[in-house]
Symmetry: C2
Subunit: 333 residues, 2 copies
């Protein structure tokens, strides 16, 4: 039996794209859980665009990762030793385990994962934070009504794919934006979008005008940059823009603001930011509804699984090149 484990820590703060030297792989002894604590063997690690923000020393919705600290990450694993009465060896659990092979946490910091509903990686995707973000961002902030037009950027991604599917379930016309013909086809053929736009091939502003003849009622933005501006140029009266992320800007030294923001005035529209953690008290209801849709075959989840914790720096970069297809998950073993 091994007595040490590997873990990635933050070594330096990047400017621009993270470099391999911004993180460091170390090896430390496996701890024994104290009373109240649980030792988890980490199996699947969620890789998210938001991680880029955590590497910056800037005011945000969570504090930055400290230099030398284990790289923060949501993950799923299995209890291997428990000092907490709620947990037993073999339980499948999720928590902020970090990018490491083992995590030792207080029992109160774990959440049970029901693998009878869906395989573990799906609980990091549609039945996890991305799905919850889509659910509350679309329904609580976007407030789509049947017959309205909902546009989603990064529409094939972990969050966007769920936004598009829920909007369709709500009776909306849905238009997805993603990069490349394979993703565009996936939007329409698999995710059920009414129209798909390949932003690498199309003039997005013109393509949106064509796909949304009555304007955009809800725009769910994961990317920022020129695509946000193209959406602003096509808003319907009283449109709602949900600001969920801005992956096109995360590696920029200077964020470019939306120069078409005065469309908010012309169209009496709003642009509202959301952070999923605010909905913590309602996670249960949302997951129950989404699990029901999955069981009925009305909601799909796709994960893009990379293998080996040693690939972490290279795998992380795939989030920013648009290479990943579905929720990016790092399988530890």
């Amino acid at each position: 039996m091994t007595t040490t484990y590997r873990r990635w820590t933050l070594a330096a703060r990047p400017s621009g794209l993270p470099r391999p030297t911004d993180v460091a792989l170390g090896e430390v002894p496996i701890p024994t859980p104290a009373p109240g604590q649980v030792l988890v063997r980490v199996e699947y690690i969620s890789l998210d665009p938001a991680m880029r923000g955590w590497m910056n020393d800037a005011r945000s919705y969570v504090k930055p990762i400290a230099i030398g600290e284990v790289f923060r990450a949501l993950a799923i694993g299995r209890v291997v030793a428990s000092g907490h009465r709620a947990w037993a060896e073999g339980d499948v659990v999720s928590g902020m385990f970090g990018v490491q092979e083992y995590a030792c946490l207080d029992g109160g910091e774990l959440t049970r994962v029901d693998t009878s509903l869906a395989p573990a990686p799906t609980h990091l995707a549609t039945l996890g934070m991305p799905g919850l973000t889509a659910y509350f961002g679309l329904l609580d902030i976007g407030k789509p009504e049947p017959g309205q037009t909902v546009v989603v950027s990064a529409a094939a991604g972990a969050v966007g794919s769920v936004v598009g599917q829920i909007a369709k379930l709500e009776g909306c016309r849905t238009v997805g934006i993603a990069g490349g013909e394979a993703k565009r086809a996936y939007l329409v053929d698999t995710l059920g979008y009414d129209a798909g736009i390949d932003y690498k091939a199309a003039d997005v502003k013109a393509a949106l005008r064509e796909a949304c003849p009555n304007g955009i009622d809800v725009y769910f933005d994961n990317v920022g940059g020129p695509i946000l501006d193209a959406a602003l140029a096509n808003l319907a009266r009283h449109a709602r823009i949900v600001i969920c992320g801005a992956v096109s800007q995360y590696n920029s030294a200077a964020v470019v603001g939306p120069s078409n923001y005065l469309a908010l005035l012309v169209q009496r529209a709003s642009m509202t930011g959301m952070v999923v953690f605010d909905y913590h008290a309602r996670y249960g209801e949302a997951l129950a509804e989404m699990a029901g849709w999955m069981k009925e075959g009305r909601l799909t989840s796709r994960e893009d699984i990379a293998h080996g914790i040693e690939t972490f720096p290279a795998t992380l970069l795939r989030l920013f090149s648009g290479e990943n297809f579905g929720k990016l998950v790092l399988q530890v073993a």
Copy 2:
């Protein structure tokens, strides 16, 4: 008695600041009102930053002024001949009379002006569109609560001065931003702002941080540009930004978007555009409440009156140089 009158028409579409040659002064015969029509001698013309937008051939909340068309303007005048049963000679009325000495309109397009409440120019200021814009923008979109911090840009202007005073009446802490020490002093000494910032002298971002130790709950934006970015950098959680105008951008070929817009995400905040016309059905209630406040001495109005319709091109430019102090009104005679 004269049989002709002078009027300004749009001659060309400016790029950047309007040039004197973008408008043309002409002289035409005074018409006789047809049945149902009313002839008005125009006395006071409202000059507004929004006029710059009407000179562009661009999609907006009203259609552009056509080349050769009388320059659109809200104004107040006196009925000199009436073919409509609701109006009689001598009635003081307001309407979209344009920048001209006489206007001939359908009787249904006029609104009665009650000069027992306040002098005519005040009905183009606090008891007119600017006051209504302030009232509905602040109360309906900004939704300030007692004890919250409300920040206003162009805070000494026609709209901003009313926003600041109403916010104070609602029990808020108010911070105004304006250009120059005279205006800054006016904000605090006359309009009752708790703090005033001279954006020409101060680092606005740092000054807001100092003046708003708990962050900004409501930011009422009339200017856009770097001041909007400074406000975004100082938002409180769940802040509301009211986008009422962007006078710093109206003469720019390319609008600069707010590069700090991701503060909306971090602070779960919103940015919403408003156009006063949407509240038409509620103008009466708002004017009654504001007239009451004026009578009680709790709300003041200040007009900056320029003289002579022939000064129109030069007077209009004062809106963009920040020279005007209070609501800019052009007195025709």
